[in-house]
């Protein structure tokens, strides 16, 4: 009996982890709204991390994350199951971050120029800074189009294919941007070589 069950299981193998998202979404579409909470709990940390690292500012993380999940909530009914849920989720996250950066840029035009504390901190002597902070500030200095693919790879562990779908570009471009981001970091971190190595 036990053997038979195992065979059955082999014939219909358990669907991979990602399919858990799919089944949750299906249940949500069928009317089980509580499954959305599970999706939020499962992915909120990564979403918040992407936002934090992309914007380099933790004040706005909660607000933007809320906007991301609200967008997902409103559009989940039309999810087409053609790509992984995370790819779609991260694309929304990246786009929200881009919108926010655009708004910040526009605002900065109308605010008087002053040296921010962050910038001063970055140029201060390496002895006063801890390694993680130095690296974070260097990442924040990268241009957005290099920073986002690097973080999606190194922090979120997405594949090049998934990153390409999230940021809507070719895999070759992702490969090149990640390498250029690393080169940029290497150059920026040169003065701190002793502390870092």
């Amino acid at each position: 009996m036990k053997l038979k069950k195992t065979k059955k299981e082999l014939q219909q193998p358990q669907i991979l982890n990602l399919d858990d998202d799919f089944s949750l979404i299906k249940r949500f579409i069928e009317g089980d709204e509580y499954t959305f909470n599970t999706l939020v709990q499962r992915h909120k940390e990564k979403v918040r991390n992407i936002i934090y690292l992309t914007l380099g500012n933790h004040d706005m993380v909660d607000d933007i994350a809320q906007e991301v999940f609200l967008t997902v909530y409103k559009n989940l009914g039309s999810f087409r199951f053609e790509s992984q849920f995370t790819t779609w989720l991260y694309r929304i996250t990246v786009n929200k971050c881009k919108d926010q950066l655009r708004k910040m840029k526009i605002r900065s035009i109308f605010t008087p120029i002053k040296e921010s504390e962050e910038e001063l901190g970055y140029t201060s002597s390496p002895e006063n800074s801890d390694v993680r902070e130095i690296v974070q500030k260097a990442i924040a200095k990268l241009p957005e189009k290099l920073r986002v693919p690097l973080l999606l790879k190194d922090i979120e562990g997405l594949s090049y294919q998934e990153i390409a779908e999230s940021v809507q570009c070719e895999i070759g471009t992702v490969k090149s941007r990640i390498f250029r981001a690393r080169e940029g970091l290497r150059n920026m971190l040169k003065p701190y070589q002793e502390e870092l190595m």
Binding site: F36, N37, V40, Q41, K44, E45, R48, N49, Y52, L53, H58, V61, D62, A65, Q66, F69, L70, Y73, V131, R132, V135, Q136, I139, P143, L146, L150, L151, K153, D154, I155, S159, Y160, K175, S176, I178, F179, R180, A181, R182, E183, G184, L185, R186, N187, M188, L189, L196, M197
Partner: protein, 532 residues
């Protein structure tokens, strides 16, 4: 920025592979190939270690951000809030604005379709009124002399200011379409044309006075044909083209009476009938009685044609009154005249305007750095039957001052069987240069300042040398009035010159090569005998 993130291309491609390698994003074949290379390259191994370290640093840089304990509660609350239907309408507010404006416009146009035309007309009349203000006759600005009026008759030029820095040039092209040009003084005709004319036609004092009186009588009429103001507006009455013909015809008619023989040398026979006294008198009265009040306004903003009535009598009265007031102080009056000047500044402004189609909507305009040419639609010039004066004016020209610089050059008599003839028309930019083939002239045969007709009649008689004044005159025609044609001729001449030079070089090269070939041929035969 670019240099910071972009290493050299070749090494960059290899390092890019290393970066993908540590991300496990290479195919099996690529991995195998790269690992082979890594075995033999210390540089690649070092780079790989460096990239791994960077990746490690990036990965470990993330610290957990403190989450707001109410994040999920707030999210759930936000999800529950259903925005009212009209909340979306706010985003569309610009669309509503456009729709509202369109509707208002539609309603206004439905009940008052002329509103836009009226607005445009009002705007137009505002502009035209601005430029029509304070228009004064050209006499006021340029203080025309009889010499100027004579130049107007035969050279189609009128000065725009006292210092004669800019000129109005009138003309008509081969299709009979009239044009006017505003030119800088460089292209103006030479001075003393009237004096030379009087001298060459052997006019006595009385006849000279008569010519002067003809010119003066036209001066009075001419003053209302070209109006100017301090806003650099030049208003031209199209009837001026007819005045130009009438004045020339009047003068020629007088000359026909007093010195027919001399005139016949200058006047083409087929035109003679036009210049009998009765015909000319009829033409002149027809032109003078023409009441065409449609002036062409040349302004810094636009060129347009508008009706304008210049009250000559009122103007005269005002001038008289003004002169009486300033009688005691003539200096002030003179200063008033001197300070008033019209100056059209060509260059960037007019060049920019040229690209704006509304600038000269009904006119064809050419703008250059020192002149502006405006073609007039022929319809607005009242048609008056008079022959084209171009040919005749050229003859007058040739009789009087064409041959300012007229010389023959025999550099090597006997050897070089040709000679050069140079002719400069008023200014150096309009020169002609002829090269004539051999005649076997005496080397001492040289002229300066001789007239072409006397040369033809006396010096070249029976020597097989012939210059046809008619064809020459037709050729000179290209050099009067129309600046673009002058430029084309000049370019053509330069190109021909270059081409001749190149052909000469090519011929010399060929000769050299031929000589060399003939010289080398026997030597080569000696060096390499054919073995059997």
């Amino acid at each position: 920025m670019g240099n910071l993130y972009k290493p050299a291309y070749r090494t960059g491609r290899k390092y890019e592979m290393l970066s993908a390698y540590i991300d496990n994003e290479l195919s099996d074949a690529e991995v195998k190939k790269l690992e082979e290379e890594l075995k033999f390259s210390k540089e690649l191994r070092e780079k790989l270690a460096e990239l791994k370290k960077i990746k490690e640093l990036t990965t470990s840089s993330v610290k957990n951000i403190e989450e707001n304990p109410f994040f999920e509660t707030r999210l759930a609350a936000a999800m529950r809030i259903k925005k009212p239907w009209y909340s979306k309408l706010g985003k569309l507010s610009p669309v509503y604005g456009i729709i509202a404006v369109s509707l208002i416009l539609m309603v206004v146009l439905k009940y008052n379709p002329q509103v836009i035309n009226n607005l445009l007309d009002k705007q137009k009349s505002n502009i035209t009124a601005f430029y029509k203000q304070n228009l004064k006759p050209l006499l006021y600005a340029a203080d025309l002399t009889n010499e100027d009026i004579f130049n107007f008759a035969f050279y189609h030029q009128l000065p725009l200011d006292n210092r004669k820095q800019q000129f109005l040039q009138f003309g008509s092209d081969s299709n009979g379409n009239q044009f006017f040009e505003i030119k800088n003084a460089g292209a103006a005709s030479s001075r003393d044309n009237l004096k030379k004319f009087i001298h060459d036609f052997n006019l006595n004092k009385d006849q000279e006075r008569h010519v002067d009186s003809i010119l003066s009588s036209y001066a009075d009429d001419l003053q209302s044909q070209v109006l100017v103001n301090e806003k650099s507006t030049v208003a031209i009455n199209p009837n001026i083209w007819n005045y130009n013909k009438a004045l020339a015809a009047d003068l020629i008619s007088y000359l026909t009476r007093i010195n027919k023989n001399e005139l016949q040398r200058a006047l083409p026979r087929q035109y003679e009938e036009y210049y009998n006294r009765r015909n000319v008198a009829q033409m002149v009265s027809e032109i003078k009685s023409s009441k065409n009040n449609n002036y062409i306004f040349f302004t810094p903003d636009s060129i347009f044609s508008e009706p304008y009535k210049f009250d000559k009598d009122q103007y005269k009265q005002e001038m008289k009154q003004w002169a009486d007031e300033l009688k005691d102080n003539m200096k002030d009056l003179n200063n008033q005249f001197k300070n008033f000047s019209v100056r059209i500044h060509f260059g960037d402004k007019y060049n920019k305007l040229k690209s704006d189609s509304s600038w000269a909507k009904d006119f064809k305009v050419f703008v250059d750095s020192n002149y502006c040419k405006v073609h007039i639609p022929s319809v607005i010039i009242p048609p008056i039957q008079l022959p084209n004066m171009e040919n005749f004016s050229i003859r007058i020209d040739s009789l009087n001052n064409l041959f300012k610089e007229f010389s023959f050059n025999f550099p090597n008599p006997g050897k070089n069987k040709s000679f050069n003839y140079k002719y400069f028309y008023n200014d150096s930019s309009k020169g002609l240069k002829f090269n004539f083939k051999a005649f076997g002239f005496d080397s001492s045969f040289a002229f300066k300042n001789h007239k072409l007709d006397s040369l033809l009649a006396k010096k070249f008689k029976g020597r097989g040398f012939k210059l046809n004044p008619d064809s020459l005159a037709a050729f000179y025609k290209a050099f009067t009035g129309d600046t673009t044609e002058i430029l084309q001729q000049k370019q053509l001449q330069e190109q021909m010159k270059q081409f001749q030079q190149e052909m000469e070089n090519f011929r010399k090269e060929m000769e050299k090569w031929q000589k060399q070939f003939q010289k080398d041929l026997p030597k080569q035969a000696k060096k390499n005998p054919i073995e059997i």
